[in-house]
């Protein structure tokens, strides 16, 4: 009889020994959080974990904290609560979020997801925060991971991840509506309605929007035209059904449309009209071999950008994601997650926006990414665990139309492989002390526009053709971190300390490098592209003390230090050095009593010196002095359903210059929220 190879026998034995996960696939975050006395996340290993057990620097912003922040902007809320995260606000609705000193407009290093679906846009690699299809009152928690997390979330998570988790269709009855009005004539309105269908399913619909006037603060002459009234509308529908007790199926559809003025990839202010829709469907299936999950979604994005160069850039980006994964336990000490993923990205810059349309007509670029990934969580002892994740991406890029002739078709058609990894030890030294040591290797692939496609706007009689560069290498980010948490029950607090060191190799510049100068019909044509510009190193840490007492007080004080040292070529093209404040102090104080809730948040940041493009001149470093700002919220619960709240940001001054972009202004809102 033919012998069965040992490795097959071993594999079958491992699977047979796996403790099958049973019943509901959808996580009941609320009950689990109440049971364990702390938030639950899947953001670090892909499997549910207690926040205190994860091998990463994670902050979970709860629904209560979101409400108490007094802001309806997710980037502002992250900036209020998460030490080491800096917010670049360049208009009333335009934001970028930088992680640990690495700040830039059109931030490419932070992956952003809503319920696990990527809302980060692969065109320029950035997140259009002003146009997210989510009702902020329907968010259960915002999970923020600092440090490279590509092994789990792919190439867009080189600096960190933000996962926005909304209330669950099966377990939470989210029925909420809110309306607010404030300075800058800003009006917001949002509503969510959830209907449970007995215990076999649920549907949820959310819709909302905002409108207002942009800040009227000083801006360069070439940017005075970009003050159009920002607006945003969205609608989402989702459903979750138990097909059988072991099989759960979900569907989701979203649409959002927004217009804002903000900092562009070229370090100048422009105007964006952004339209998105997405479709999603998937299943979770309990099997004897673990929890099998299949998730599929399709994102469509149309982005029309206008800045001092005319005419417009109209970019259409599409993303199809299909993944399959299995989570299972082996014995009592090991949890595994194995995954396969396929991603198809495409980008097209529409010819009607290119003056050289005859050459670049219908240019299109495709990227097929095939991924294998896995996580192994080993509970070595009751106190010590070791988490390892690895991911291999094979990216096959090819031309779908006629791209810029500066490169040949065989240049555009190329492939690359990327390896990312995370490893972390968590040691609960005592019941009060937890130590973490983590390593992350992140990969930031070039954006679709950096890889190919062509935008050729004309300005001042010169054609500026920003083309792709198929020779770009991915940026490799490595993050080393040591963290220590100590519970201080005597003062109802927790103290957190972390220090990190980060290296970045082969950073990619914006498309600003002139690679050729040609003439078309006597018109000069400058061809620009992105290039690898070298390395940068970052080091720093965070200290935080936060807690709350039974008599209604809450507090959160933190200090973060972020130092960045760029190679000279990085400093002159991206300028991470001093792009974010080196020191950032935060203090939050809150008090609840009866129907009243009072919260204040203050911060002081040191100076910055960001690169800026002003009046189409060369990049210039613009020093901005340190500043302090204060926000606050007073909430009054009228009855079981309604809450009235007065909130504001930048309350101490009419205008605050926070960065080289137009100064932000004081904002005050009065809002009414109803829960049913």
């Amino acid at each position: 009889m033919k012998r069965i190879p040992l490795y097959i026998t071993a594999s079958v034995a491992v699977l047979a020994a796996a403790t099958a996960a049973h019943a509901d696939q959808s996580i009941n975050y609320g009950v689990l959080e109440e049971m364990f006395g702390e938030p639950i996340t899947t953001n670090v290993t892909g499997t549910p974990q207690r926040a205190s057990d994860v091998a990463a620097n994670i902050t979970i912003i709860t629904a209560d904290q979101i409400r108490q922040a007094g802001s309806r902007s997710i980037p502002q809320i992250i900036g209020i609560y998460v030490p080491g995260m800096d917010v670049l606000q360049s208009s009333i609705t335009a934001f970028d979020v930088g992680v640990r000193g690495y700040q830039q407009p059109y931030q490419p290093r932070l992956q952003v997801l809503i319920d696990g679906r990527q809302v980060f846009n692969d065109d320029y690699s950035h997140t259009q925060w002003s146009n997210l299809p989510v009702n902020i009152d329907d968010i259960r928690q915002i999970e923020v991971v600092k440090g490279a997390a590509s092994a789990l979330f792919g190439s867009n998570a080189a600096g960190g991840v933000v996962n926005i988790i909304t209330y669950n269709l099966l377990y939470d009855q989210s029925r909420v509506a809110s309306l607010s009005y404030g300075t800058q004539n800003m009006v917001t309105g949002d509503a969510t309605y959830t209907q449970h269908l007995s215990d076999w399913g649920g549907i949820k619909i959310s819709a909302g929007g905002m409108g207002g006037e942009d800040f009227g603060t000083l801006r360069p002459a070439t940017e005075t035209g970009f003050t159009a009234n920002p607006q945003h509308q969205y609608v989402t529908g989702s459903s979750l059904f138990k097909v059988t007790p072991d099989l759960l199926a979900n569907m989701e559809i979203t649409y959002s449309n927004g217009k804002d003025n903000g900092a562009e990839r070229g370090f100048n202010i422009g105007n964006n009209v952004d339209t998105n829709y997405s479709l999603r469907g998937g299943i979770s299936w309990q099997t004897p071999y673990g929890l099998l999950t299949n998730n599929n979604y399709f994102n469509h994005n149309s982005e029309l950008s206008t800045y001092f160069l005319t005419p417009n850039e109209h970019t259409v980006t599409e993303l199809l994601v299909s993944n399959l994964e299995d989570q299972f336990r082996v014995g009592s000490a090991n949890i595994f997650r194995l995954g396969l993923e396929y991603r198809r990205k495409s980008i097209q810059q529409l010819a009607d926006n290119n003056v050289d349309g005859a050459i670049d007509n219908e240019n299109k670029l495709y990227d097929n990414v095939y991924t294998v990934n896995g996580t192994w969580l080993w509970q070595i002892t009751d106190k010590l665990s070791w988490t390892n994740s690895a991911r291999v991406d094979h990216s096959a890029i090819y031309e779908g139309g006629t791209l810029d002739p500066n490169y040949l078709v065989q240049d555009y058609n190329h492939s690359l492989n990327a390896f990312s990894a995370n490893s972390g030890l968590v040691y609960h030294a005592t019941d009060a002390d937890t130590v973490r040591a983590t390593y992350g290797r992140g990969v930031q692939l070039p954006s679709m526009l950096q890889n190919g496609t062509d935008a050729a706007p004309i300005q001042g009689g010169i054609i500026y053709s920003a083309i792709g560069n198929p020779n770009l290498k991915p940026t490799i980010v490595e993050n080393y971190e040591l963290g220590y948490d100590r519970a201080l029950p005597a003062i109802d607090s927790t103290a957190k300390f972390s220090v990190y060191y980060q290296t970045n190799k082969d950073l990619i510049s914006p498309p600003s490098q002139i690679v050729s100068t040609r003439f078309i019909n006597f018109t000069p044509w400058l061809t620009l592209e992105s290039v690898n510009v070298g390395s940068s190193h970052g080091a720093g840490g965070e200290v935080e003390l936060k807690g709350k007492s039974l008599n209604g007080f809450r507090w959160d004080a933190s200090y973060s230090l972020s130092t960045v040292a760029d190679a000279e070529t990085v400093a002159t093209t991206i300028g991470y050095n001093a792009s974010a404040p080196e020191s950032h102090f935060r203090l939050l104080l809150g008090y609840s009593s009866g129907s009243w809730e009072l919260d204040t948040n203050g911060q002081y940041v040191t100076s910055t010196d960001m690169l800026r493009l002003i009046d189409n001149a060369a990049f210039t470093n613009v020093p901005v002095a340190g500043y302090a700002s204060i926000g606050a919220r007073i909430g009054y619960t009228i009855n079981d359903h309604y809450t009235l709240a007065l909130s504001g940001t930048n309350l101490t001054r009419a205008d605050t210059l926070e960065n080289p972009y137009p100064a932000v202004q004081r904002q005050v809102f009065l809002g009414l929220t109803g829960k049913f």
């Binding site: 996960a21 019943a23 009941n28 009950v31 049971m35 364990f36 499997t47 549910p48 009592s332 949890i335």
Partner: protein
């Protein structure tokens, strides 16, 4: 040889279980938070519970501290402190010597100081009736008698016996399985 080894292993396992179960009495008085956590587990199970859910509180009539712990557990459940609003419970006391009174219960809480003869038969009877057995004494879970063990202080830890769960035909959500500590 193999048969002897298996027999030896079986005896050793039984001895360990017995040692754990009948170890000198150590106090594991049930905390109100243990009860709250334990009852929330019902929301993470495959079976859907509704209506008044009978909860048996097992006690040792021979040990006063066991009786008082059981009364405290019953009082906590009756008061509903920290109990999920979705579920309604009705608690009643069951002496260790009267396992037959478990009939109809969905959950059985083990009060303190049950390290006497009856616990094994009570857990066996509970398992046959698909009752979720919960204890603050982790040794009960280690012996694969109780399905779930809860320690709420200083840090919340939930232990789980897959063998006891399987014997009771109880299944939990995958998230619960990933978050607890299997024995």
């Amino acid at each position: 040889m193999t048969t002897h080894f298996k027999a030896y292993l079986r005896k050793a396992t039984l001895a360990c279980c017995a040692a754990l179960l009948f170890a000198p009495s150590v106090s594991f008085a049930t905390d109100a938070l243990d009860i709250s956590i334990g009852l929330k587990i019902l929301l993470l199970m495959k079976e859907r519970y509704s209506g008044p859910i009978p909860v048996a509180v097992i006690y040792n009539p021979a040990v006063p501290s066991s009786v008082s712990d059981a009364e405290s557990i019953k009082k906590n459940i009756d008061q509903g402190t920290g109990i999920p609003e979705e579920l309604k419970f009705s608690a009643y006391l069951v002496s260790l010597n009267h396992a037959e009174k478990l009939a109809g219960a969905k959950v059985a809480f083990m009060a303190d100081n049950l390290s006497s003869d009856g616990i094994s038969s009570v857990c066996d009877a509970a398992g046959k009736q698909g009752i979720l057995t919960i204890s603050s004494n982790i040794n009960c879970v280690r012996a694969n008698q109780c399905v779930v063990g809860i320690i709420s202080k200083p840090r919340i830890e939930i232990y789980y016996s897959p063998l006891a769960a399987e014997a009771s035909h109880l299944t939990f959500s995958s998230a619960f399985i990933m978050l607890v500590k299997p024995i």
